[in-house]
Every structure is written in C-alpha cells, then in structure tokens.
Amino acid sequence: MLQPLTVVLLVSSGVLGLLAAHHLVRGRLVDDPLIIVGAAIELALLVQLVVGLTKASAIGDGAERATFIAYLFTVLLVIPATIVIAVKEKTQWAMAVVLGGALVVAILVARLQQVWSLNV
C-alpha cells in the first residue's frame, strides 16, 4: 500500500519484540523505552489508517475492501491493550504479553499488505 510505512511498522514491531524479550530475560517490567517504542508504533499505525482509508477505494471487491478497512482499525487496538495488561502484571509474564502483542502487530500489518497487493 505504502511500502516505506509497512517496512517501518514491521521493523518497529521487531524492535518492540526484541526489547520485550530483553526485558523478559533481565526480569524487567514495563519502562519508558518500551512505552516510547509502543507509542511510535501506534503513531505509525494511525498514519497507516489515514493513508489506508484514503486509498481504500482502489480495492474493487467490496468484501475485500471491508476486510482491509476492518484490519486498519483492528490493528490500532493491539498495542494499547497489550500495554494496559502488561502494566498491571508485576511478573515476567508482562513481557510475554508485550512480545505477543508485537508479533500480532507484525502479522496484522503483513496481512494488510497481503490484502492490498492481492486486490489492487
């Protein structure tokens, strides 16, 4: 859809995943760097939402377009939900949740790209 943005999103979710893995091993909990990376991803996802919505009409098939738009919105929920759960948990499981969240964002971004490239 917008390749540089997709690359940025995949790389930044990779960074979040690595940071969470690092914290998991070191026994650390949610801290500022983690929140900052999460916020950066969320910002990029919002840009993706705007870009995606303006370009969505390029997808001819109505159902596929609906899927695309649904993914654009759904992916926004993952990071905030992940951080809320992780902040409440005071054991290493918090970082397991963040790691999973980063993975889910990457998968959803890849799926968005897939829906886009198959239908335009």
Partner: protein
C-alpha cells in the same frame, strides 16, 4: 510455571495478594490471546454476515457463536471470581467440543465449509491455536483452583 522471584518474595507476607487468580501471571497471556481471538472472530463474523451471508450461512453462524464464546472466556478468565471462572470453564469446554466437532465435520464434509471459520479443520487457518487454547485454558483453571484451595487451607491452618 515457575514462580518469578521478585514478586513471590515481596508477596509472601500477604496471603490476600498471593491468592491465585486466573487472570494473573500466565493468565494475562491467556486473557490477551482470548481477547485477540474474540476480536478476530467478532470482526470476521460481522464481515461475513453483513457482506456475504448467503454464500455459507452455517460456517458464518458458527463464527458468530465462536466469537461469543471467546468473549465470555476472556471476561471470565480476566475477572477470576468463582462465578466468572465457572462461566469460563463452561465456555472453554464448549469451545473444545466445538472445535473438535466442527473440525471433524469440515474434514468429513468439506462441501459444507466453502468458507473458512475459526474452527474448521481444527483451526488450521489460525495455526491450530483454537484447538490448543481450550486445553491450555482448562489446565490453567484447574491449576489455579488447586493452588487457591491449597492457599485457603494454609490460611485456615495459620488462623488456628
């Protein structure tokens, strides 16, 4: 799951905090995964029902039922009180029976499932997560129940 060192040390003096809860520790991961599945299944079923319901009504209705069950399981595990856990146990059992029945059905009669659902082919489209998750969830509920029974016994003993 091994007890993480920092918290177990700091909570030993307080049995109220220590009491096992289905939504704490490893339970957070379960709640997160169930929440995600609830979201995915709800989204998919809304889309299927509004955009092309006539194409395959049965699988689409099953998606909606699955979405509801995931929602109940998520809330039940996250709340963690006695009634919620009982509700979650029922939801997880129905989920397990559902994924096994629909999985078998979709393999025996593939023509009944022209469209994918969360449960067809034992959840292969979702990396078999729908098959494994209820087993893990039921194990976790059982483990938590036993651990809390043990901690209650401990509290009762120390009160004597």
């Amino acid at each position: 799951m091994s007890e993480p060192t920092p918290t177990s040390a700091e909570t030993t003096g307080n049995p109220a905090v220590e009491r096992p809860h289905t939504g704490h520790g490893f339970g957070r991961v379960l709640v997160a995964v169930y929440g995600l599945l609830a979201l995915a299944a709800t989204g998919r079923s809304i889309l299927q029902i509004t955009e092309y319901f006539d194409r395959a009504p049965v699988p689409f209705l099953l998606s909606a039922v699955a979405a509801l069950i995931y929602l109940v399981a998520t809330i039940g595990l996250a709340r963690g009180d006695r009634a919620s856990v009982r509700l979650a146990t029922i939801a997880l059992t129905v989920e397990l029976v559902g994924v096994l029945a629909v999985g078998t059905w979709s393999i025996l009669r593939p023509e009944a499932f022209p469209e994918k659902t969360v449960w067809s082919h034992f959840g292969a489209g979702y990396g078999y997560v729908p098959l494994v998750l209820p087993l893990v969830g039921l194990w976790w509920i059982r483990r938590t129940a036993r651990a809390s029974a043990a901690s209650d016994a401990e509290v009762a003993r120390s009160a004597d």
